[in-house]
């Protein structure tokens, strides 16, 4: 019988710091003490701590030790697991909130209550063990759907829950699925877009590292609803750990018969393949992703036709984001009516945000739709770092809008943000304090797009480069008012004329930056960077030079 569990943090940072050696040492020591039958050792992905990694948590006591070295294993096993005493000097120190720590309570009631749907299990179960997922209601929704519901009813439930895509565009998920259902072609695919490359976004990584089965279950449900028997997960090339965990999860699920041939004796079959990318931001665009999956350059296709009619291998294809798919099983399990009690009326459910930049605590939070940016910064972010003043936020990753302090109290969901000229995008919240220069920020963002433009269409390829060169001039104090005007014109042109979503979104931070902070661009033409960030010619020096009498 298992009487205790020891969970070792298994996120990338912990692994880099030797978590595996710690786990091996613990297992060796437990084996030496003859405790392997009663103490179970496993990984957890999301611990909410970054200062004391690698750490271990001993349940049922909930005692956290960290940072733990392999040589500490003998002492912890002997004291805590053998003699039942807490090894006090190895305890993780209480969280200090003044530094850059993420505080991510795993359970409601611990610290600030978050409404967790997508991240409910992340950090509390071992992602390498399917039984833990099943113990927490895992694959219940799939079983329910296969036994009691028709595919139409599954689709109807998702529609009634008003689930919208969490990848950034906010397109109704059920509508996308129904397009596929309408196709005459019977060979159909479900593709999970896990090519999370949006700078500042790492929610999909944590969902997949911490709870991979939730996404697999969502894909199988989607497959059942639209009549697809094959699913593909396109994982970003840089996410090696995600890839490993997913492959492991698929194997376990197929071995148990909750994926694969004839799932739970229902007659429905669904196979999942994991495909790793090779490093290209544009592959997050759905048609570029499909091209890449077919072994080609990841260049966007002309649209229409859209993937629901002509997708992977030319067949009808649903392409959904990781977070979207992770919402499907909870909706089927608990019903659409339950889901609509979360979030706003127009946009039910929760959203996972990544808080970054000048906040006291950085990390992920999952809160209901309609939560304001002020709440997120004040409550979950612990306020601004070092008492800085809030200047602006960039919401939704590199292609997101720059929003000023006046928008702090807007209830954030997809439609409301759009009405206010902002975007929710991928959920990245880059909070910038008073020391941030808008011209410099826009320059860095534009540099990103210059590097990641695939080069297929001229506005995006040449236009973003011209803007970057002009911004460089402004930064160095060599710019003119005409340059500011040009940037705005070109940005509008790129937005209007680019081929795919990358190009259309790239000018958004430039245009919103100009809209709210034009005076800073103008000041740079006078050689003034009020934040003191840009290498402009110093005003004092200019005056001094001018005053020298020859």
């Amino acid at each position: 019988m298992i009487r205790a569990r020891v969970l070792v943090s298994g996120d990338p940072l912990s692994l880099a710091r030797g978590a595996e050696a710690v786990k091996l040492a613990l297992e060796a020591e437990l084996s030496y003490c003859g405790l392997l039958d009663e103490v179970q050792v496993g990984y957890i992905a999301q611990t909410g701590r970054k200062d004391v990694l690698p750490l271990i948590v001993v349940y049922p006591d909930g005692v956290m030790y960290g940072p733990v070295r392999p040589e500490d294993a003998a002492y912890i096993v002997e004291e805590h697991l053998y003699k039942g005493r807490v090894a006090k000097h190895l305890l993780a120190p209480p969280e200090v909130l003044t530094d850059k720590l993420a505080r991510l309570p795993g359970r409601e009631g611990a610290l600030y209550a978050q409404k967790r749907v997508v991240l409910r299990r992340a950090g509390t179960i071992d992602p390498l063990n399917i039984e833990e997922y099943i113990a927490e209601d895992g694959y219940f929704a799939l079983g329910k759907a296969l036994a009691e519901m028709t595919p139409e009813q599954v689709l109807e439930e998702v529609k009634s829950a008003k689930l919208v895509g969490r990848g950034g565009a906010g397109f109704p998920t059920a509508l996308k699925w129904s397009f596929v259902v309408q196709q005459a072609e019977k060979e159909r695919y479900i593709v999970c877009n896990a090519d999370e490359s949006e700078p500042g976004t790492f929610k999909d990584r944590l969902i997949l590292e911490g709870d991979p089965h939730s996404v697999l279950e969502g894909m199988a449900l989607a497959g059942y609803a639209v009549g697809a028997h094959e699913g593909w997960i396109y994982v970003r090339g840089e996410y090696g750990l995600v890839c490993e965990r997913l492959k492991h999860a698929v194997e376990q699920a197929e071995a148990l018969g909750v994926l694969g041939e004839n799932i739970m004796e229902s007659g429905f079959s669904f196979h999942v393949h994991v495909h790793a990318g090779a490093g290209a931001y544009v592959c997050g665009e759905e048609t570029a992703l499909l091209e890449s999956m077919e072994g080609k350059r990841g260049i966007p296709r002309i649209r229409p036709p859209y993937p629901p009619s002509v997708g992977f291998r030319g067949k009808p294809t649903v392409v959904n984001n990781v977070e979207t798919l992770a919402n499907v099983a909870p909706i089927i399990r608990n019903g659409a009516a339950w889901y609509r009690t979360l979030g706003t009326e127009r946009c039910p459910g929760t959203k996972v945000y990544a808080m970054l930049g000048d906040v006291a605590i950085t990390g992920l939070v999952e809160v209901p739709m309609g939560t304001t940016l002020r709440e997120i910064v004040e409550v979950y972010g612990g306020g601004m770092r070092d008492g800085k003043l809030f200047k602006c936020a960039q919401t939704g990753g590199a292609s997101g809008s720059i929003i000023p302090a006046t928008m702090l109290d807007v209830p954030m969901d997809f439609p409301t943000m759009m009405e206010h000229g902002g975007s929710l995008g991928s959920g990245a919240m880059l909070i910038c304090g008073e020391g941030t220069c808008i011209v410099d920020l826009v320059y860095v963002l534009t540099r990103f797009f210059v590097e990641e433009s695939c080069g297929k269409c001229v506005p995006c390829r040449i236009g973003s480069l011209r803007i970057l060169e002009t911004l460089e001039r402004l930064r160095s104090g060599q710019g003119t008012l005409a340059d500011v005007q040009n940037i705005e014109t070109w940005a509008q042109d790129i937005k209007a004329m680019s081929f795919c979503g990358l190009g259309q979104a790239a000018p958004v931070p430039i245009l919103t930056g100009l809209q709210h902070f034009r005076e800073e661009f103008v000041a740079h033409t006078q050689g003034v960077c009020s934040a003191g960030v840009c290498p402009v010619r110093s005003v004092e020096r200019e005056v001094a030079v001018r005053n020298i009498k020859f």
């Binding site: 700078p199 990318g277 290209a280 072994g295 350059r297 930049g357 990245a428 880059l430 990103f448």
Partner: protein, 159 residues
């Protein structure tokens, strides 16, 4: 053509059943195992998959994780995206360039280091971030740079 290269290409390609659809994955594995993909390897793979060499190279050059040129013994990939930039990335980048005496994309004369950038690697909460080969370093400051670099150059000084 080097027989060893042909054999290596054949074995990686066979891993994916010589499937053209798996071209990106084949190239990635080759790049990882051989350090970079040489002209010979491209020719061998093109023949194996019955594709024009230009098409194979075109796919390879598109992706940042597929190397088509040799690089130094250790590769630094520094994140230059906005979240790391706002968190003080610029100063760290300057410190890196100064410590190595090279600029972006260059390799040190002794062949030890290559300095590159990467797009966001999803560790923004601990930015600024960089990868040294496959090791992750977060919460970087200019002061930490010499110490980190020394771990790879000093004998036995690996973290």
């Amino acid at each position: 053509m080097d027989q060893g290269v042909i054999e290596r290409v054949d074995s990686v390609s066979a891993r994916y059943n010589n499937d053209r659809e798996a071209l990106v994955e084949i190239l990635r594995d080759l790049s990882k195992e051989m350090g970079y993909i040489s002209q010979d390897a491209f020719a061998a793979l093109a023949e194996k998959l019955d594709l024009p060499e230009s098409a194979v190279f075109g796919v390879a050059s598109f992706y940042s994780m597929i190397e088509t040129k040799p690089h130094g013994q250790h590769v630094i990939r520094f994140c230059q995206d906005a979240p790391c930039h706002v968190a003080g990335g610029r100063e760290v980048w300057d410190a890196l360039e100064a410590a190595l005496g090279i600029k972006f994309g260059e390799t040190t004369p002794d062949g030890q280091w290559t300095l590159m950038t990467t797009s966001c690697i999803g560790l923004c909460a601990v930015g600024p971030v960089m990868l040294v080969d496959e090791d992750v370093y977060g919460n970087l400051t200019p002061e930490k740079i010499p110490d980190i670099l020394a771990r790879y150059t000093d004998a036995g000084g690996v973290a």
